[in-house]
């Protein structure tokens, strides 16, 4: 009797074990698949994502979420702080406040991040110009142009400020007398190039916007 039961269990257990292992593997695969479909948690969703949740258009990762608003609000605060410092004549503190906007964490992929940072760089460069730090201002603009991902009116504005820097340098070269005339001429040419780029970007973007409307 006992040996019969032992033989029966020995014959059934491999099949049962295999079936259980496959069921577990199937469950894991289904979980992975559902997770793959749901995508990474986006900034647009405020509720935690479930792996079994069906894709919902209102869960798109580029939706405006709290994280984006918080980042924008913090940038607003730094701008306001900088304005107060500027009204008080403390340009160094205003510069430091604007510089903090550049390190604000924005949601990954947020288009507003580039715009806000480029606009902050433009203001930062103007503040540095007003403090006579032309090289630092030029570096600020160059870094912004290097990091930008797309053309925008804010990028065009960076070129505008870059042109202003060249104009200031040209004026400084002119002020140095005859020896500085060639450098002043080069700076004016560079300023014109920067303005031209700004104008071209503005024209392209306006055309695109007009077509979209």
């Amino acid at each position: 009797m006992n040996h019969v039961n032992v033989r029966r269990s020995a014959a059934a257990s491999p099949g049962a074990g295999l079936a259980v292992a496959l069921a577990v593997a199937l469950g894991l695969a289904a979980g992975c698949s559902a997770e793959r479909e749901s995508g990474a948690p986006g900034r647009g969703s405020d509720a935690p994502h479930s792996v079994t949740r069906v894709t919902d258009p209102s869960d798109a990762p580029d939706l405006i979420g709290r994280d984006l608003l918080v980042a924008l609000a913090q940038a607003k605060n730094f701008h306001h702080k900088a304005k107060v410092y500027m009204s008080d004549g403390n340009l160094a503190a205003a510069t430091a406040s604007v510089r903090q906007i550049l390190s604000l964490p924005f949601p990954r992929g947020a288009a507003e991040a580039d715009d806000v940072r480029n606009d902050a760089r433009a203001l930062l460069a103007k503040l540095l110009i007003s403090q006579g730090q032309l090289d630092e201002a030029a570096r600020t603009i160059t870094e912004g142009l290097a990091q930008t991902q797309r053309e925008s009116f804010f990028v065009a504005n960076l070129y505008t400020v870059q042109g202003e820097i060249h104009e200031v340098r040209a004026a400084a070269a002119d002020a140095s007398g005859e020896p500085g005339r060639p450098a002043a001429r080069d700076e004016r040419h560079a300023a014109i190039e920067s303005y031209d780029r700004s104008i071209q970007i503005n024209q392209r973007l306006q055309s695109v916007l007009m077509e979209e409307r």
Partner: protein, 196 residues
């Protein structure tokens, strides 16, 4: 008597050429009668250990010569037990014998079930991995279904070209962007609440 029997099994073996002694003849005759009675099913309840040992040997010798037959009931029981053991089945109630074919089916049933389960699971896994991924969040379908003002997007359309004399007016532009995105966030939240 017991001593004599002890001598029969453990004592010296007599020469086969010598004439048997009267005692040996009497012992042989008595043992023959004992074997006859045992084969007839009338085994005496008490006998000496030597006689029992000799009787068992005689029974085995007879069985090996094929002259021993089982009764029909006993034979059927032995066959049934052998079949049950062969097919791995439980002892049949009422003495019925399980057919060998059905017994083999029972033995292979778990493997057939496991094999079928394997095929189904493999097919399901293949479907899960090979099918094209469903449109993820943010894909064109989702984008088309969501109002533009709900989404994070470039602020170019909102701000427009920046005049040179407004190049440093980043604070005002940021106020505009923030107000617009806050409106979009609120509209989205209200819109989602209104959705059944």
């Amino acid at each position: 008597m017991a001593r004599q029997h002890d001598d029969t099994l453990t004592g010296s073996v007599p020469d086969p050429e010598t004439e048997p002694a009267p005692g040996e003849r009497a012992h042989a005759r008595r043992f023959a009668e004992l074997v006859d009675e045992a084969l007839a099913g009338r085994t005496p309840p008490a006998m000496s250990a030597d006689d029992r040992a000799l009787l068992e040997v005689a029974t085995v010798i007879r069985a090996t010569h094929g002259s021993l037959e089982l009764s029909p009931a006993r034979g059927r029981a032995v066959v049934e037990a052998a079949l049950r053991q062969a097919v791995g089945a439980a002892p049949a109630a009422g003495g019925s014998v399980v057919p060998i074919g059905r017994g083999r089916g029972r033995r292979w049933a778990p493997w057939i079930v496991a094999g079928a389960s394997t095929l189904v699971a493999a097919a399901a896994l293949a479907m899960l991995w090979l099918r094209p991924a469903a449109p993820s969040a943010g894909a064109p379908i989702g984008r088309a279904a969501v109002p533009a003002e709900w989404r994070s997007r470039p602020a170019d359309a909102l701000i427009g070209p920046i005049a040179r004399d407004r190049a440093g007016d980043a604070s005002a532009r940021l106020d505009t962007i923030f107000a617009d995105r806050l409106d979009g966030f609120r509209a989205r939240r209200l819109g989602q609440r209104g959705t059944p």
